[in-house]
């Protein structure tokens, strides 16, 4: 199975481990991920205003690159990039006016032909969790893991369409396939504070605290995430919370899901 | 013979318009028709056949016959006696001029049609001789000389830079003399030149058909399978009949409103399904087969039987305009004597 692959800014730097494990597991599962040429930052956030269009050009260019490479699927790893690409693609497909405006600036017309998929979706739909379970060499039996979805993977409800917004299960099913126990806790889709942590640490800290407490109370030993920013927030604000809570157990490591996959595949 | 430079045509037309209502061929949206002339109007001399044949000037597509009002007593206003404004038709092609003779046989035989007669009498026809028939022209097959028009009051011949004018009737003479100030006398050299031009035309036809025995052949073909094959692609529109310079069937219609009413006469077409529809619902020509047969029988058999001449002048309008290419050439060729290739 062949895909174009869009890494995004953070995957090449702070989240290198994420990319490494994603690519090595992909190879092990027989997936061919080809990094698209000359990619730029996707913009990190989907434009929420309707009166300017330049923010769309970068993602549309990446989608055009995918098409030019003869591929029909673009894989992303970062939930942020995924959100930007998927929404942009949908907007181009469905909003003729927007499409015309964007294409007026492009050499080739883009009509939304490419499908945008997250690596987790590839694992679920193209490889199959059943088949992953068969390929697992080292089952993660006994590991109690708290899947943390964050926001961008799932929301907005009407546009992302990856899973049930309120009660998603794709992460759980993935973890079960690896032999681990997925911990159920009500804060798995509550926001971690996102970019607020850059400028307003108090808010981020509080947001992370609630998630951490909820996961911990429900028996989790670690978090599993699909977004570098979630990972940063969950990790970065734990230490002070730990200091404040006086509960030595309240320290949960944070893993990218690909790290666990690599571990289970014994790579 | 008189002559006038084509550059001075506008003056000539203006002078004619002073004499009578003047109609000339002119183009609008790619279609050439006879229209009432007015100062500044460009006359289309090059066009062969105008769309709607000039029979309409004697026999309009729609005309009021009478009006009435019912009150204490019935009052009737007759329109036939009002018809016949003095008019000049300029640049009528010889085939169309020939058609007038055919129409006359219908409308001037006793008892004559008053409105038609008055219009015919009060109209001066200036023919324009052809120099270059096109591929659908086959007037020659009907012994019509496209360079000459004996039925016209005046014959005009285009000699390139000039028009030569020959009066052929008394009415023509009158007109020419009225215009005399604008015309110059032709020399015998001019006359020879015109004659030479006129003679060349015979060789310029590319289409002709032989009418030998066609009347007789058709007389025996009323029940022939041929019509069965032929009619199938006819769509029953009135293009051929309305554009035909010799078709002359009409319908009388009554428009009544309250105590008033009006009787009008308008062209009808044997191609139309309701042409022979009777009030009780019966239609003696129930399908297009009978209608198509009627049209060609009428032109090539019934009319010649009654009047001696074919009701066709070979103008080619039906050949050019029939949407399904079902035309009289085909019928003459297939039912009649065949074609003579050149």
């Amino acid at each position: 199975m062949r895909y174009s692959y869009y890494p995004g800014c953070t995957l090449k730097t702070r989240a290198k481990a994420y990319e490494d494990t994603a690519l090595s597991t992909a190879k092990a599962l027989g997936l061919s991920l080809t990094e698209i040429k000359e990619w730029q930052c996707c913009g990190a956030l989907y434009p929420l205003n309707t009166d300017e269009i330049f923010s769309f050009f970068s993602p549309v260019r990446a989608l055009l690159q995918t098409r030019a490479a003869g591929e029909d699927k673009l894989v992303t790893l970062c939930a942020g990039c995924y959100n930007v690409f998927k929404r942009t693609n949908k907007a181009v497909r469905e909003d003729g006016e927007l499409r015309r405006k964007i294409n007026a600036y492009l050499e080739e017309d883009y009509m939304g032909e490419v499908d945008v998929v997250h690596y987790l979706e590839v694992l679920k739909n193209d490889v199959g969790f059943g088949s992953i379970a068969e390929k697992v060499k080292k089952r993660l039996t006994g590991r109690k893991l708290a899947p943390y979805y964050g926001c961008l993977l799932l929301k907005p409800r009407a546009e992302m369409d990856l899973d049930d917004v309120e009660n998603p299960t794709i992460f759980e099913n993935f973890l079960n396939a690896l032999g681990a126990t997925a911990v159920s806790y009500p804060y798995k889709t509550e926001c971690c504070g996102s970019y607020l942590s850059m400028a307003n640490e108090e808010i981020a800290s509080a947001a992370v605290g609630r998630i951490l407490n909820s996961a911990y109370k429900n028996g989790a030993e670690a978090f599993v995430v699909a977004c570098p920013l979630c990972k940063y927030n969950l990790e970065e604000y734990q230490s002070e919370l730990l200091a404040a809570s006086k509960d030595p157990q309240l320290k949960l490591p944070v893993f990218y899901f690909t790290e666990l996959l690599a571990e289970a595949l014994a790579l | 013979m008189k002559r006038i430079a084509k550059a001075n045509l506008a003056e000539l037309l203006s002078a004619m318009a002073a004499e009578a209502k003047l109609y000339v061929p002119a183009e609008s949206d790619g279609i050439v028709n006879f229209v009432s002339w007015q100062e500044g109007l460009a006359v289309e001399l090059a066009a062969l056949n105008v769309l709607v044949p000039p029979k309409k000037f004697f026999y309009p597509q729609t005309e009021t016959v009478l009006k009435y009002e019912m009150g204490e007593d019935l009052q009737i206003e007759d329109f036939a006696c009002k018809a016949g404004e003095k008019a000049i038709l300029f640049a009528v092609r010889p085939c169309d001029v020939s058609s007038f003779a055919m129409m006359d046989k219908v409308y001037l035989e006793e008892p004559p049609d008053e409105a038609y007669r008055r219009r015919r009498e009060n109209t001066t026809v200036i023919a324009l001789g052809c120099t270059e028939p096109d591929e659908a022209c086959f007037c020659q097959s009907f012994d019509i000389d496209a360079a000459k028009a004996p039925g016209a009051d005046v014959l005009a011949v285009d000699t390139g830079e000039e028009l030569a004018l020959v009066a052929q009737t008394e009415k023509g003479e009158e007109l020419i003399s009225a215009l005399n100030g604008l015309l110059s006398e032709a020399t015998s050299g001019d006359e020879n030149k015109v004659k030479d031009e006129q003679e060349k035309i015979a060789d310029r036809y590319v289409t002709s058909v032989s009418l030998r025995g066609i009347k007789e052949r058709l007389a025996g073909m009323f029940a022939a399978d041929y019509w069965e094959r032929l009619y199938k692609r006819c769509i029953g529109c009135g293009t051929c009949t309305f554009l035909c310079p010799t078709c002359h069937c009409f319908d009388l219609q009554e428009y009544a409103a309250g105590n008033c009413g009006e009787r009008i006469r308008c062209w009808d077409a044997c191609m139309f399904a309701d042409f022979t529809q009777m009030a009780g619902g019966h239609n003696p020509r129930p399908s297009q087969k009978e209608r198509v047969r009627q049209r060609f029988m009428h032109k090539l058999n019934y009319f010649p039987q009654q009047h001696g001449d074919y009701a066709c002048v070979g103008c080619g309008r039906c050949v050019r305009k029939c949407p399904v290419n079902l035309d009289i050439l085909e019928v003459i060729r297939e039912a009649g004597g065949g074609t003579d290739g050149l």
Partner: protein, 134 residues
């Protein structure tokens, strides 16, 4: 706070609706947005109040609210809104109106805390600057 005729600014409402593409008047104040907002506790104007103020044309209260700079655009509210109002888009529009008019940035690189400058992922930095600066 008082709603008086002179104060009502419907131009703002129009501008917000145009920039956001959202119909502010659709909101019937059920409060579901505010109830679910993960950062609502630090806001001065609650999300449903943002829409209410906009409906009433209360410009100053909106443009001076902290809320605009607290919303993380997590899209929780609009995923639950029964009236299909995308509040993050409305808030974004208000932020843009401020940033475009003032031209100034809300966030300067120098303001960032030290640990952010050292460890934060690019994704977070780009996002923050997209929201707080133009």
């Amino acid at each position: 706070m008082k709603v008086i005729t002179e104060k009502i600014n419907y131009n703002l409402l129009r501008e917000v609706e145009e920039v956001s593409g959202q119909k502010v008047s659709a909101c019937f104040q059920c409060g579901k947005c505010s109830g679910g907002c993960p950062v609502v506790w630090s806001m001065d104007v609650l999300p449903h109040q943002v829409l209410r103020y906009a409906q009433l044309g209360l410009v100053d209260e909106l443009l001076h609210s902290k809320t605009l700079w607290i919303c993380a655009s997590c899209q929780t509210c609009d995923s639950r809104c029964p009236r299909n109002v995308d509040i993050p888009k409305v808030i974004e529009a208000l932020r843009l109106i401020i940033l475009r008019n003032k031209g100034g940035n809300y966030l300067h690189p120098n303001d960032l805390p030290a640990r952010v400058r050292e460890n934060a992922p690019q994704q977070g930095l780009v996002s923050a600057f997209r929201k707080y600066a133009k």
